[in-house]
């Protein structure tokens, strides 16, 4: 592993289903983030974590939850997916002001 990995790469999900997007980093960064990217809206912060064991809400947290059991992993869960959660999701970590991004997960909720 080098940097940040995300899984799956893409997913089509039926509305109402539960889904966990996975994010793993091998850089030992304390801070991690989840963003969603929608056309014309840029990236919007969903949740963040400053260090293992702590999480915080971003700009658009409703319908999403996160956990941070250890430094490397930061999964994002959609408890009951809705079509408005169709988006591209990026995980990121940061150190010394610089953010490092994963390749993204393209999620379509039908």
């Amino acid at each position: 592993i080098a940097g940040i990995t995300q899984a799956p790469t893409s997913q089509i999900l039926a509305a109402g289903r539960r889904m966990t997007l996975r994010c793993t980093q091998d850089m030992r960064h304390n801070a991690m983030y989840w963003y969603r990217q929608d056309l014309g809206l840029g990236l919007r912060l969903i949740h963040y974590s400053n260090t293992a064991g702590t999480t915080g809400k971003g700009e658009v947290p409703d319908g999403y939850s996160v956990s941070r059991a250890n430094t490397d992993d930061f999964p994002l869960t959609l408890a009951s997916a809705v079509p408005s959660q169709t988006s591209v999701y990026f995980c990121a970590s940061s150190v010394y002001y610089e953010q490092y991004f994963g390749p993204g997960t393209r999620l379509t909720v039908t």
Binding site: G42, F90, Y97, F101
Partner: protein, 115 residues
């Protein structure tokens, strides 16, 4: 409160001509400012960053940006556009120069480079 405004959603330039992507910010604190680039179907890559040091910041691939506090601007420039510069560019503000805080993204500027 912090915010960032990218003044152009689309910019088209001819190959070999200068590039100017405009960004204005608002921050209650001394901000850190960044430009990221995203090529199609890819993640974001840091181009350059300003963190209260030199106001003229040089980045990768010939890009640079100047922090102007009086104008609350952080415009991205490049003297000569290359076809490979075609991408989406995001201006980002962070309200602190230390620690781990929320980054606020602009809505992006899509750069098109014409042959």
């Amino acid at each position: 409160a912090q915010s960032v405004t990218q003044l152009d959603s689309h910019v088209s330039v001819s190959e070999g001509t200068p590039v100017l992507l405009r960004c204005n910010y608002s921050s209650s604190y001394s901000p850190s400012l960044f430009w990221y680039v995203q090529h199609p179907n890819k993640g974001l890559q840091l181009l350059l960053k300003y963190t209260s040091a030199a106001t003229l910041v040089k980045g990768i691939n010939g890009f640079e940006a100047e922090f102007k506090k009086s104008e609350t601007s952080f415009h991205l420039t490049k003297p000569s556009a290359h076809m490979s510069d075609a991408a989406e560019y995001f201006c980002v503000v962070s309200p602190t120069t230390s620690g781990t805080y929320k980054y606020i993204f602009g809505t992006g500027t899509r750069l098109k480079v014409l042959a």
